[in-house]
Symmetry: none
Subunit: 406 residues, 2 copies
Amino acid sequence: VEFIATGSELLIGRSLNTHVRRLAEALVPLGLQVARETTLPDDRSAIAAELRAALVRSQVVLVSGGLGPTCDDVTREAAADALGCALVEDAATLDRLRVRYLASGHELTPGRRRQALVLEGAAVLVNRVGSAPGQRADLEGGRVLFLLPGPPAEFQAMLEDHVTPWLRRHAGGLAPIVHVWMVCGLVEGEIIERLKEVGFDPGPLELAYCASPGQLEVRLTAPPDHKAGMARAADLVRAALGEHAYSETREDLAAVVGRMLQHRGMTVAVAESCTGGLIGQKITSVPGSSAWFRGGVVAYANDLKTRLLEVPGELLAAHGAVSEPVARAMAEGARRRLDADFGISTTGVAGPDGGTPDKPVGLVWWAVADREGSRALSRRFFGDRATIREWAAQMALDALRRRLIR
Amino acid sequence: VEFIATGSELLIGRSLNTHVRRLAEALVPLGLQVARETTLPDDRSAIAAELRAALVRSQVVLVSGGLGPTCDDVTREAAADALGCALVEDAATLDRLRVRYLASGHELTPGRRRQALVLEGAAVLVNRVGSAPGQRADLEGGRVLFLLPGPPAEFQAMLEDHVTPWLRRHAGGLAPIVHVWMVCGLVEGEIIERLKEVGFDPGPLELAYCASPGQLEVRLTAPPDHKAGMARAADLVRAALGEHAYSETREDLAAVVGRMLQHRGMTVAVAESCTGGLIGQKITSVPGSSAWFRGGVVAYANDLKTRLLEVPGELLAAHGAVSEPVARAMAEGARRRLDADFGISTTGVAGPDGGTPDKPVGLVWWAVADREGSRALSRRFFGDRATIREWAAQMALDALRRRLIR
């Protein structure tokens, strides 16, 4: 499988090419790899030349970008040049485009209409996110060319809807067995220690770690014929991770917490200070979160902690906003004032300024409140403002998860 | 300038290739561009073959990765294959490696010693961050090959210390004049119309657009010797964009709004429904936002809109949550209850579910309230949940910006 990214914006530093990573994430579970990747500017002849070379080297060639309505979108034409075939207007796509543009009050200009041009004989791949469809051309010798739109959300949808299903059908049997755990609250070194304790020995299996702020992905991979060995190894990893693992499906932490709440018919409200809305944003990124999320208060100014969350002024005066009692009072206040079963809170020093010897940049308190009371934890995180905030949001969500499995 | 990234980790989704972006950011101010980029696995013959092809196509070829101590680090050998030259051990590098490894309590194993191998005649580029040095080989016909280490921090240091200075010396006088505007509320087509109206003619200048949800970057680039023409053109673009442009420095919209508020000694509070905390998160991403941000309420449940923001229950019953009167009441309530000079709000259908014929997925109302009253606007956005929410947050922030420049 070879990948060609087109788009001058990728070569002048304006956009980051995340496509390779997304594609690799789709391929690896199928036992496939990206053999090479090339990024080209919006240059019809350069794209056509590389396409010709790629179709000699590789069986499956995927191209991203250049399918839109503007004059620098030249991938359709370049592919037609490379294959020596014509472009034809697809009637069904044209209808879809017409409806789409009319609905948003725009005309179907000649440029926009170009998006309905497909390689003669190619399959049209419906784009559920954007306007330009993808295309799949089945070529001589079993070679296949996919043209996919460039915007990341559209590219991702195309991978899910069309590319992965096709590859799964055509590359069956190669797929390694993969097991993934998402972990919050343990670092790599601690996991290695725990694995030793339970007597884990990878043998032909591979164990890999990928850390990001507030979460760690643990990935165990076995060759296709090691099903029994994989089951035994997975049991050991599961035992070693215990309640620190929040998902075996890469489900987002907020979604995991939401499922647990919904299952119990319970709700949560949040009180955010240093995270400033990030927890609410994470929660409401989960479709259907209105079933279990009541709402939140971003109490950035101290007097609002008192006014909206009933944090006693004396607590703030005595301990400061970044403190255990204030974190607890915020979580309790959110629960009470927003009429939820649980309240969670964050208060910390996200930096870059505002740190003191006593309360340095990175110090965060978070708390969970329920009917019976509240409990707060704290840690000092390192990194920039965004990293510290991300950690704080994840730890607060994870604290609620741990409360729910108790 | 052509770039070859080596490293199997880039092709299996474990690492994101940020090198192209870093390189482009270094090149663009010099008036240079990355002509193409290729990512290859750690495969000596594939790297050698691509190097040969690249040195025919491009004058300057940069390679990243494969200079370390392990057996999959094969770039040195591949480059020697491609150039048909020998690898020799560099004495000064060997000394540096010995000191470096001893200082950290490690031995200089044969593998580690390989890092001192350089292409015969190449200049050694000292690595101030890691162990393996970079190399620069000056070839026939003025062609130049740079070998650079792959870890992002080392790659970045190499760019700063060696590549950029070399390119500046050899590509002097090419640096274009660049002017950037960040725009909210106009699409590309509308800008093109407005530019026509003011009589803008790009001539030798280049005008480019880069759209993302809720913002559009307009970039005007002129050749180095077109200073006067650039000034005239920039005045026309500025006139065409008018108050739709919120920044000429790529400053973030929330930061722009914050600066305007701080300048006036005024504050804002937010009431979020469909954005669920995203506006608060954007605002509090700006360091020092506590000077002008009071806080926010995420009123996800309808009864909280009444309880926390004093939105009359009759309004909700009569018009539904996604409506002009409710958006206005939310903004007014936030302003009043959180004691701010301005209140801004969002309420909409972020999807994927919950749309009706009357209020389809993507419909968003947003409002700004001040001492005198409030004003709401609405639009239907297209895309996934994240895209719709991003648009809603940007439009609400932009509405406040427009209120502030009135």
